[in-house]
């Protein structure tokens, strides 16, 4: 610790501070940089309409990414988020139709409040199954959630016989398409989920336990933390957030489609990792996870506006994900 010496040396201290800031929030500057670049390259980027659009699109994967962040901080992962999103989406859609579709195997219609509640409960249940398998069954999270990813997708296809469910009530589609005080409802939801998750992770006991388990599981046990309990809660919460995303997506597109959310879990993981969450566990932040999701969203949007070939878009996205993590690992390496 040579902080005492540095107090007399203001320029260097400032320099160090900038460095620290860059280290910690470098990814924020990356986002700003991309935005500036796109503003210069295309006039339609920096318009209220486009930016609202970007954030609304980001909200779906952004919410998944927040759930994944919790799992990754505990050294786990959640691969099932995209499939849980689809299953919850079709179940909630089927309960929110204006009338029962012909030939629909199972189903009845109920008030929107109930159908949304059932969707959220279903997501939490599937998530807690992940958690129980991982924490009590001692199965690696990768495998437990991989199984769930396949099973939930299968159920979604089975439930709808592979067809999308349409004719949804307007009260339901309002959740995805409407706005409140001039701001789209999905953005409200994303902001609330982000805020609540930030409080949970940074200001509440739960978050400290999550960091403790990811940072040093043995020490966490020595501190009397019930590791299994906390892990089940983490995965249940991730399932709940997948459900919220599923409801938003079904409402916005006015349909429940069993093929929704394919490979979303990977974009969610990418957002988390770009946001600086360490796959080795113990490190992560919700605000930066949001920034990570925004970076992916802005890049997608920018390339669309610039008319980049969609195949190229994938290639560029892949490079950016790897580059972000590479930079991060270099940073970590230097510290050691």
């Amino acid at each position: 610790m040579n902080t005492d010496k540095e107090t007399n040396n203001t320029p260097r201290r400032l320099h160090n501070k900038t460095k620290q800031l860059l280290n910690k929030y470098g990814i924020v500057f990356v986002l700003i940089g991309i935005c500036i670049l796109l503003t210069i390259l295309t006039p339609s980027f920096l318009t209220t309409r486009n930016l609202t659009n970007v954030i609304r699109q980001v909200s779906i994967i952004g919410i998944l990414a927040i759930g994944v962040t919790f799992a990754i901080i505990t050294t786990g992962i959640d691969l099932s988020s995209g499939s849980v999103l689809a299953l919850v989406g079709v179940v909630v859609a089927s309960l929110s139709q204006t009338h029962l579709a012909e030939g629909q195997p199972i189903g009845f219609i109920m008030p929107i409040l109930f159908s949304v509640f059932i969707g959220l409960a279903l997501g939490s249940l599937l998530g807690s199954i992940n958690g129980v398998l991982h924490a009590y069954g001692k199965i690696p999270a990768f495998i437990a959630t991989l199984g769930m990813m396949t099973v939930a997708r299968g159920f979604a296809l089975f439930y709808t016989a592979g067809r999308p469910i349409g004719n949804l009530k307007e009260t339901f589609t309002f959740i995805g398409g409407g706005s409140l005080l001039g701001i789209a409802i999905p953005i409200w939801v994303y902001a609330s989920v982000g805020f609540i998750s930030w409080v949970l992770l940074s200001k509440a006991r739960f978050g400290r336990h999550v960091f403790a388990i990811g940072g040093n599981m043995q020490a966490a046990r020595m501190c009397g933390i019930n590791i299994e309990h906390v892990l089940v809660k983490v995965y249940a919460y991730a399932g709940l957030l997948s459900a919220i995303s599923g409801i938003l997506l079904a409402a916005r597109t006015a349909a429940g489609n069993p093929t929704y959310g394919l490979a979303y879990e990977l974009d969610a993981i990418a957002s988390t990792v770009i946001g600086g969450t360490s796959l080795a566990g113990g490190i992560g932040s919700i605000p930066l996870c949001v920034v990570g999701a925004l970076i992916i969203g802005v890049i997608n949007n920018g390339m669309d506006l610039l008319g980049v070939n969609p195949y190229w878009q994938q290639i560029v996205k892949g490079f950016i994900i790897v580059l972000a993590v590479l930079l991060d690992s270099q940073k970590q390496g230097k510290k050691q």
Partner: protein, 501 residues
């Protein structure tokens, strides 16, 4: 045994930050001899062996191997030069067979163009090697099916396959039965007589030394004490060479009044760790637990704390029978546990000092569901001042602190739950002298305030100067109890090595 030396270590020194691990150490091992290296825990044996095996670099001094300068900088070079080591806990690859383990990293291949494994040659060479050493094992047996004793023999076979001149064996018999030990000794004698290999034999078992070794050297506190032919020496003299330390750094303990029994442990047993352990701990008492490494001290503490609950046995606190099946049970009963390995079971390195401190007792700091920063800061600040933790800020990540300050944070962690009983496992390991003295003073103060303390320590001066009473463990059993006034290093060492006093 020839008169020529296979290995000569001359005035070798090595320092680590804050510690002089070796000071001008000498060691001369004759060709084709078995040379015992003795010393207490922390005497510098491991450091010296790690230098020989290329893991550490010496700061000063000279090493000659067969009269030529020896300077291996990694283990591959050490093996190539002719030194191999069989560590106390060998770690073979469980899912490969014996032959593959022996030739791991030096596999025979079929040719330069198509370098496939030459399995035929590997198996025939293994068979030859095992036969020559009288090891009766099938080369195709998977390693995970091999007993520890046989794994030990395979490690020796591996060393022989390297054409080694010198084998270092660190506590090779610690996990073996008597019969297995006899077989091992036969093989070691073969190495010496038929292959002219020299052996450095590290062991705490004094009887073994006398039955197999030719010469003995003793280290103490990182210095060379002496060396002699085993015939010219007896047990008494060996023990006094190992312990004869000046007691100048001793901590002056205040006398405290010792109260009622707070904790009783009855008939604690855990398979292959410890058996049938009973003791009492009183209010205001500091109970030292001495013993050699592997005696089961840490495992016993982890069981008392519920981290790995005992198979059988009862715990009583203030006379009430209670069940502790997890650390959170222990914490609720007023126990705290500063663990032996700071990094492995202690700190959360990416969390701040405050987060590290409050972890066992977070619910204490919650107000309407959220962490109350003000109370946290107040409590942690008090600990920082009273334990003199040196840090610019409590928000500093704990990994940026020195070992001594990290240890103080961990002690604070448990003081914050206001425990009745505090278990300290090697509380001053790897920290500098100043911080050590402060921690010793703190332990004394805690006992005076009425807490009951259990302190596991491998450092004789520490255990002798602080404890009111000392329990000594030997191979998973309690081998003796000493009161403060009766305890001496000699007595502790005798009990710890399974002798009687």
């Amino acid at each position: 045994m020839s008169q020529q030396y296979a290995l000569e270590v001359i005035n070798v020194s090595k320092s680590f930050p804050g510690v002089k691990a070796l000071q001008s150490v000498n060691l001369k091992v004759r060709k084709g001899s078995i040379h015992a290296l003795m010393g207490e825990n922390g005497a510098g044996k491991s450091t010296l062996m790690k230098i020989l095996y290329g893991i550490y670099k010496k700061d000063k001094g000279q090493i000659l191997l067969n009269k030529k300068p020896y300077r291996a900088t990694n283990t591959i070079e050490a093996i190539r030069e002719g030194i191999s080591m069989i560590p106390q806990e060998i770690s073979p690859v469980p899912n490969l067979d014996i032959a593959s383990n022996i030739f791991l990293g030096q596999e025979y291949t079929t040719g330069k163009i198509l370098p496939l494994l030459d399995k035929k040659k590997i198996y025939s060479k293994t068979r030859e090697l095992l036969e020559a050493l009288h090891i009766n094992l099938n080369p195709k047996l998977m390693m995970h099916e091999v007993s520890i004793a046989n794994a030990q023999l395979i490690a020796i076979a591996t060393a022989v396959s390297y054409n080694t001149n010198l084998v270092i064996m660190d506590e090779p018999t610690s996990a073996l039965t008597e019969q297995e030990v006899e077989h091992l000794f036969q093989i070691i004698r073969d190495l010496k007589e038929k292959r002219n290999i020299s052996i450095i034999y590290i062991s705490h078992k004094i009887d073994e030394i006398f039955s197999i070794c030719d010469e003995v050297s003793v280290l103490r506190d990182g210095s060379f004490v002496g060396s002699d032919d085993i015939k010219n020496i007896d047990k008494q003299r060996l023990i006094s060479m190992m312990v004869g330390r000046s007691m100048k750094d001793f901590f002056h303990k205040e006398t405290t009044s010792i109260g009622n029994v707070l904790l009783s442990v009855r008939n604690f047993s855990l398979t292959s760790k410890f058996k049938n352990i009973s003791f009492d701990l009183k209010r205001g008492e500091i109970l030292g637990i001495a013993g050699l490494m592997g005696a089961g001290r840490t495992e016993l503490m982890e069981s008392i704390f519920g981290y790995s609950p005992a198979d059988t046995g009862e715990t009583y606190i203030k006379g009430n029978h209670i069940s502790i099946r997890s650390p959170s049970d222990a914490i609720n009963q007023g126990l705290g546990f500063v663990t032996e390995d700071r990094k492995l079971t202690g700190i959360f390195q990416d969390l701040s000092i405050t987060d590290n401190m409050i972890m066992p007792d977070i619910q204490h700091y919650i107000k309407i569901g959220l962490l109350n920063k003000k109370i946290i800061k107040e409590n942690c600040q008090k600990q920082k001042v009273s334990l003199k933790i040196k840090t610019p800020s409590l928000q500093q990540l704990i990994k940026n602190l020195s070992g001594g300050n990290q240890q103080k944070v961990l002690i604070s962690r448990w003081l914050l739950i206001e425990p009745d009983i505090l278990i300290l496992d090697e509380p001053t390991r790897g920290i500098d002298v100043g911080a050590k003295a402060e921690i010793h003073r703190l332990i004394g103060k805690l006992a005076k305030s009425g807490k009951a303390i259990i302190m596991v320590s491998s450092e004789m001066p520490e255990i002798l100067s602080i404890s009111d009473r000392i329990l000594v463990m030997h191979e998973g059993t309690l081998s003796g109890e000493l009161l403060r006034k009766d305890a001496t290093q000699e007595k502790i060492l005798k009990l710890a090595t399974g002798e009687t006093i």
